[in-house]
Each structure stands twice: as structure tokens, then as C-alpha cells.
């Protein structure tokens, strides 16, 4: 049958498991939107294209499914650069369909023309500019395959307006012709059995092993396999920021997060281990601290699906190129129980000596609000954050018990990610209570999407930990710039509760610590989005902390206690 280019794109989205689009129409994408409407393809109209990308991102992180982002040419396309980069850094699949000016006018600086192809090369896994309607079927199949296989990531299909209306023969059952490519883009290598055997040997020999589990565990759906592996071999587990939820936070073997704002016991375990098993993490600089003092003397094992990550930052003794779930299944078939009482006892004593803690002084402490959110939600919700101090507190104080329940911008650290990501997450898993923990600075960057939450009645519960500062930057200025505060204060923040009401969203203003719990309980009962503006202690800092560029062994535990950990 003959279909228009737009119709073929929609057919291929449906055929390849894409169930929803987030976007905003404009001149160069109008024929596509016309077909989108006719085909009744589910679509959420956002208020900013960047918001659309973060929604698709949050959706993918909680469902494992890929969503489409649709924008017009020029500014519509350039507005998604941050969202694409964010998804690329955190290996999140999404497919962006961007309108482009008509083929004959490309390169003439036409109205709303931008070099979307050129602009998006560095922020996508791959991108395409469609030049012929007969290519669409192949490109769409390739695009979705590239986005979702191997190490996932975002892709862009740039779609000129004339191609959107051009007709082409379409056969939904025609076999997918895939261009030849080097293997790593999408294939899953078999774990090397020799390396697995070596690892089994090392585990048998190790006195002080530790597992560092990254977001690869969550993406590979390997949480159950990880739990089995850790418990059978009695090896404690550290979760990276994005790996949180990949191992139950309530398990006695769980050590929390490592690195800059990790727990003291996780960092001590990294410093003193003799075997470090990194499962699906990428040794980010926020995790390792100064490389020369990272896991010194330990045998380092790294399992990753991306060959380029093996040996990229940390010299690895046993690199294993594999889907981490496959590797864990092989490990579980062979790993033996070993008594590690001495090591586990030592870790227990660190947990007792250096717990995560904060002072209660009658003000609203941000950590307290987060603990209360955890209690009110029963720990079974989906938790989303912006970027900054509140993000670190959320990562520290929420006990994540299941995978895909934590949505946070890790690699890029994108302020403004929270609200749209929470909307996307709630759309993806409507039966899960979705809590956004945000900062006033982060929230301000994308609060326009409150309109989207209101329009579609997407019941996200938004807790703003409002300290009237760009808190993380303020903390750094306090600690590393001798309290020379430079442009970090928002003394005239708007009344966020009133702003919410203006958008038709329930708003609460909380100034008293005694109102925290009752407000959260009330919010949980409301069938719709809610904004809670918590006026939290303004000078609270995130502890512990490894100063930038220092080793994890130089961690500072708190303000009064500026002594190093060891």
C-alpha cells in the first residue's frame, strides 16, 4: 500500500513498541502532527521541548520502554539538545522525531532551519536525516533498534517537511534491512568463560571483596541475579547513584552509595577491599574520587556491555565484556559460599560508627522531609529528583527496594530534570505513587511543566526543598571559596504554592516542622498533582563529602568534624 512519510513513521513507531509521544508541534512538523492526530497515537503536549525529552527519559527509566519525542525544526530541535545529552550520559533510550525544513530549502538558512543532524551528533547514539520516503521504514527500524539494544541511548530522526507528505510504498511485513556495522553498537557478547572462571577463583581467594553495582544492573533487569550472587557469596553491595534500587536497600549487605556524597562505610569498603567487582557501572569520577587512591591494591573486575568503558578510567585486572545479567547467571552457577565474618563484622562496625545522620534543631531539615516521604509512601513509590543537594539527600535517605523506582540525572547533572521526568515516570507507570523531590533552583528551571501535569491530571507529588539557594554551589562556596557567596541566593523566590494554584495545581506552603508529616499525608490522598513548598533550613550541607579531586579516603564526615575519615 502507499502511505505518506508521516504515516510510515507512525506505523513503524507502533510496530516497534513505541506507545506514546511527548512533544510540541510547529511549522515544519505539521503534516506529521496531522497524521498523529488522525491515527489517535497517544501524545502529550508539553510546554517546552526540553521537558518532552525529560518526560520520555523518565518514562523509559521506569518502564524500560522507549517513547518518542516530537518537535519542529530550528528552535524546537535545538531545545532538545540538553535532554538528548542527559539521556546519552545515563544510557537512556528515546527516539526524537524532529521536523526539518523542506529538502530543497535545506542549507539556505530557511525560516526555522537549524543543522539538527550536525547539532545532535555528539549527544545521540546515532542520528539520521531522511532524504527519501522509501528510506523511512529502514531508518525507523534501525533507529529504534539502536536506541534500545546494547548500551541504550537516544537517537534522532530528522524529518524534512516534504518527506512527511511524500508517498512511498509500504509493506509492514517487509524484512528489516539493517546496514552492516561494527559489533559493539547493538550486539550482546557472550561473557568470556575464562574470565568468569578467573573471577570465581578470585572470589574464592578474596578476604575483603565488595560489589560496586551500577545502572547496568537496572537496565539489564539483573536485580534478582545480583541479589542471589551477593547473598550466596556474602559480598557486600555498593550501589552507584543510578544503580540505586538495583539491590534492596533493606538488605544487611547493602552499603549505600559510594563517592563524593556516599556513605562513609561504602567508601571505607572501597578503600580497604582486596577484590572490587564492578557490575555495570562506569567508574564515574564522582564515584572514584582521585584515581590514584581508588581501591589501591585491590584486584579490579569490571563487567560492562560497552567495550569502551573497560579500562577507560580505572586499570582493570579482569575485564568482562558482557550483558551483566548473562555474566551474573554464569557466576551464580559456580559461586560458592565463603565465610567472610571478619570483613562483614568490620563493615558492621563502620555502619555503627559512621551512620548517615543530621542534627534536628527545630527547623525543617531537608533530610527529615525525605525520611517522611519514604515513610508516608511506604518506600514502594517511584522517586524522582532534580539536581543538587536535595538529590544527594534523596539518594542517601530513601531506601530503594526495587529496580526502576529511582529517576535521577546522574552523568549530566541536569537541573530542571525533575518535574518533567516525574511526569514521564507517572505516565509510564500510572499505578505507582510518584514523588518528586526537588530543589527551588532545579524546580524553577522547568516549573512550566506544571501546566502539563495539570492539563492531563498527572498526579505527581512534588516536594520542593526550598532553601532559597543554589544549595550545592553555595555549599562549595562555603567550603572551598571561604564563604565568598557569588550569585547563589534567590531571596525573592516566588510563592511556589501560589504558582501551583495559578496552574490549577494544589499548593501547600510549609514553614513549620510539625506540618511536614500531615501535609505529605494529605498530598498522598489528593487525586492530582500537588506542590509542597517546604521552607527548609537554608544552611544545611550534604555530608559526608569527598572534596573534588581528593581521594575517597579523604572523606569529611561533617561540619564540626572536619577530620578525615582515616
Amino acid at each position: 500500500m502507499e502511505l505518506s512519510g508521516s504515516q510510515i513513521v507512525i506505523e513503524e513507531l507502533k510496530a516497534n513498541g513505541v506507545e506514546i509521544a511527548f512533544g510540541i508541534p510547529g511549522g515544519a512538523i505539521m503534516p506529521f502532527y496531522d497524521e498523529l492526530n488522525k491515527s489517535k497515537f497517544p501524545h502529550i503536549l508539553t510546554r517546552h521541548e526540553q521537558g518532552a525529552t525529560h518526560m520520555a527519559d523518565g518514562y523509559a527509566r521506569v518502564t524500560g520502554k522507549v517513547a518518542a519525542v516530537v518537535t519542529t525544526s530550528g528552535p524546537g530541535a535545538t531545545n532538545i539538545i540538553t535532554g538528548l545529552c542527559n539521556a546519552k550520559m545515563d544510557s537512556v533510550p528515546l527516539i526524537a522525531i524532529t521536523g526539518q525544513v523542506s529538502s530543497p530549502t535545506i542549507g539556505t538558512d530557511a525560516f526555522q532551519e537549524a543543522d539538527t543532524y550536525g547539532c545532535t551528533i555528539p549527544v545521540t547514539k546515532h542520528n539520521w536525516l531522511i532524504k527519501d520516503p522509501r528510506e523511512i521504514q529502514r531508518v525507523m527500524r534501525e533507529a529504534i533498534r539502536v536506541a534500545t539494544t546494547g548500551r541504550p541511548g537516544p537517537v534522532v530522526v530528522d524529518f524534512p517537511k516534504d518527506i512527511q507528505v511524500a508517498m512511498a510504498e509500504y509493506n509492514p511485513r517487509s524484512p528489516a534491512a539493517i546496514a552492516p556495522t561494527a559489533d559493539p553498537i547493538s550486539y550482546t557478547p557472550e561473557p568470556d568463560t575464562k574470565a568468569i572462571d578467573r573471577l570465581i577463583d578470585e572470589i574464592g581467594r578474596a578476604e575483603r571483596p565488595v560489589i560496586l553495582a551500577g545502572s547496568g544492573i537496572v537496565k539489564a533487569g539483573a536485580s534478582a541475579e545480583l541479589a542471589e550472587f551477593a547473598r550466596r557469596s556474602e559480598i557486600p553491595v555498593i550501589n552507584t547513584l543510578l544503580g540505586l534500587g538495583g539491590f534492596p536497600g533493606s538488605d544487611p549487605l547493602f552499603l549505600g552509595m559510594p563517592g563524593m556524597h556516599g556513605t562513609a562505610y561504602a567508601n571505607l569498603a572501597l578503600c580497604e577491599c582486596d577484590l572490587l567487582i564492578n557490575l555495570g557501572g562506569r567508574f564515574d569520577d564522582r564515584v572514584t574520587g582521585k584515581i590514584s587512591s581508588f581501591a589501591v591494591g585491590a584486584t579490579i573486575v569490571h563487567v560492562d556491555i560497552d567495550a569502551a568503558e573497560l579500562g577507560k578510567r580505572v586499570v582493570t585486572d579482569i575485564p568482562i565484556l558482557a550483558d551483566v545479567r548473562d555474566a551474573l547467571i554464569m557466576l551464580n552457577a559456580h559461586v560458592k559460599k565463603k565465610n567472610r565474618k571478619g570483613w562483614l563484622t568490620k563493615i558492621e562496625s563502620w555502619k555503627r560508627d559512621y551512620p548517615l545522620q543530621y542534627d534536628r534543631d527545630g527547623s525543617i531539615k531537608p533530610q527529615y522531609v525525605i525520611e517522611q516521604i519514604q515513610e508516608v509512601s511506604g518506600g514502594n513509590g517511584i522517586y524522582v529528583s532534580g539536581v543538587g543537594q536535595h538529590q544527594m539527600w534523596a539518594a542517601q535517605f530513601i531506601r530503594f527496594n526495587e529496580p526502576n523506582s529511582w529517576v535521577s540525572s546522574g552523568g549530566l547533572g541536569t537541573m530542571g530534570f525533575g518535574l518533567p521526568a516525574a511526569i514521564g515516570a507517572k505516565v509510564g507507570r500510572p499505578n505507582k505513587e510518584t514523588w518528586l523531590i526537588d530543589g527551588d533552583g532545579s524546580f524553577s528551571m522547568s516549573l512550566v511543566e506544571l501546566a502539563t501535569a495539570a492539563t492531563y491530571n498527572i498526579p505527581v507529588k512534588i516536594a520542593i526543598l526550598n532553601n532559597t539557594y543554589l544549595g550545592m554551589v553555595r555549599q562549595w562556596q562555603e567550603l572551598f571559596f571561604d564563604k565568598r557567596y557569588s550569585h547563589v541566593h534567590y531571596p525573592t523566590n516566588p510563592d511556589f504554592a501560589k504558582i501551583a494554584e495559578g496552574y490549577g495545581v494544589r499548593g501547600f506552603d510549609i514553614t513549620d516542622v510539625d506540618q511536614v508529616r500531615s501535609t505529605l499525608e494529605q498530598a498522598a490522598e489528593i487525586n492530582g498533582p500537588v506542590v509542597m513548598n517546604f521552607h527548609v533550613n537554608q544552611e544545611e550541607n550534604v555530608w559526608p563529602m569527598v572534596p573534588s579531586g581528593a581521594g575517597n579516603d579523604e572523606m569529611q564526615l561533617g561540619p564540626k568534624d572536619a577530620k578525615k575519615l582515616r
Binding site: 543532524y117 547514539k125 534501525e142 546496514a179 569502551a308
Partner: protein, 167 residues
């Protein structure tokens, strides 16, 4: 360390941007780049000469393999492959110096493509070593213009183990 990357890519528009952009954004310097068709019309070969520490060069190769339109990346070692570059060079040489320049050209098997009252333009090809010596020899006369294709290379047959495909 200096290395020649022989990169086989799908012959699509935009591929060169992906490849060269990767070098730029990851902070790797390209010394020369040459691209051209291969025996297969759907495949282009891009030859890139880059400098760096061994682990950096290894990282480049691994990042290159992640590019969608890249089919194959080989890291060629200098001593086990044939490398060639074409150089066009215009040397300042009036009638007095011309004979000397032509003598040098002759010694290097370079051919003369143009002679004017004040210059000689030569065409030379050879491996890296040879072209470098030639250019050095010509520099003292004054080089007014030079164009180089960048290095291309193929491994010596029968020494295929030196293609060094990466683990």
C-alpha cells in the same frame, strides 16, 4: 606513539562528521585524515593518523567502533604495513637554484609538474620517512606552497596478524 587507523565505514553522507567529530570532542588530535572508495562501492575507507599514549589510542579505537556507520577499525603498525602519502610542493627556485632542486627531486623519484621563472612544483609520493626527508631537503630553498593527501596504508599481506584487531 603514532598510529594509523584504518576505518571502514558505510558510504553515507555525514559519516565523516561522526568520525572526525569523535576525535574533536574527546580531545584526540588528528595529524592527517584521508578518505576514499574501496573495492566495495558501499564502503569508504578513512585513514587517520593520530598521536597519543597507547591507552588513549586504544580508547579511540573502541569509541570509533561504537559509531553506527563504522564497520571495522584496524590499528596499523608502521613497520608492518605499507604507508604512502602524495605531496605536491612548490619550491622557490630561480634559474640559478633550479638545477639543485631538480637534482634533489631526481634523487627522491619526485616528478616535476611545473616550472616557472621563480619556482619548481614537484609531485612526490612515499612513506612518511621519505616524504619528511624530501621536505626537509627542500625547505632551505623556501617552500611557497604545499599540499599533502594525508597517509594511506595497507597491511603487508602474509602478515595479517599485525592488523591487531582489538579484544
Amino acid at each position: 606513539m603514532r598510529q594509523v587507523f584504518s576505518i571502514l565505514v558505510n558510504n553515507h553522507a555525514g559519516v565523516l562528521s561522526h568520525v572526525s567529530g569523535l576525535f574533536a570532542r574527546r580531545g584526540y588530535n588528528i595529524e592527517s585524515i584521508a578518505a576514499g572508495p574501496t573495492e566495495d562501492k558501499e564502503v569508504t575507507r578513512i585513514m587517520i593518523v593520530a598521536f597519543g599514549e597507547e591507552d588513549k589510542l586504544e580508547q579511540i579505537a573502541r569509541q570509533l567502533r561504537k559509531l553506527y556507520d563504522v564497520r571495522e577499525v584496524n590499528q596499523l603498525s608502521y613497520n608492518r604495513s605499507v604507508t604512502r602519502e602524495l605531496v605536491l610542493v612548490t619550491v622557490t627556485a630561480d634559474s640559478e637554484k633550479r638545477a639543485e632542486v631538480l637534482q634533489i627531486a631526481n634523487a627522491f623519484g619526485a616528478s616535476v609538474v611545473n616550472i616557472s621563472d621563480f619556482s619548481v612544483t614537484l609531485e612526490a609520493s612515499g612513506n612518511d620517512h621519505r616524504t619528511r626527508i624530501l621536505i626537509k631537503a627542500l625547505e632551505k630553498y623556501g617552500i611557497s606552497n604545499m599540499a599533502r593527501t594525508g597517509m594511506i596504508a595497507l597491511p603487508f599481506d602474509g602478515m595479517s596478524e599485525d592488523w591487531e584487531p582489538l579484544a
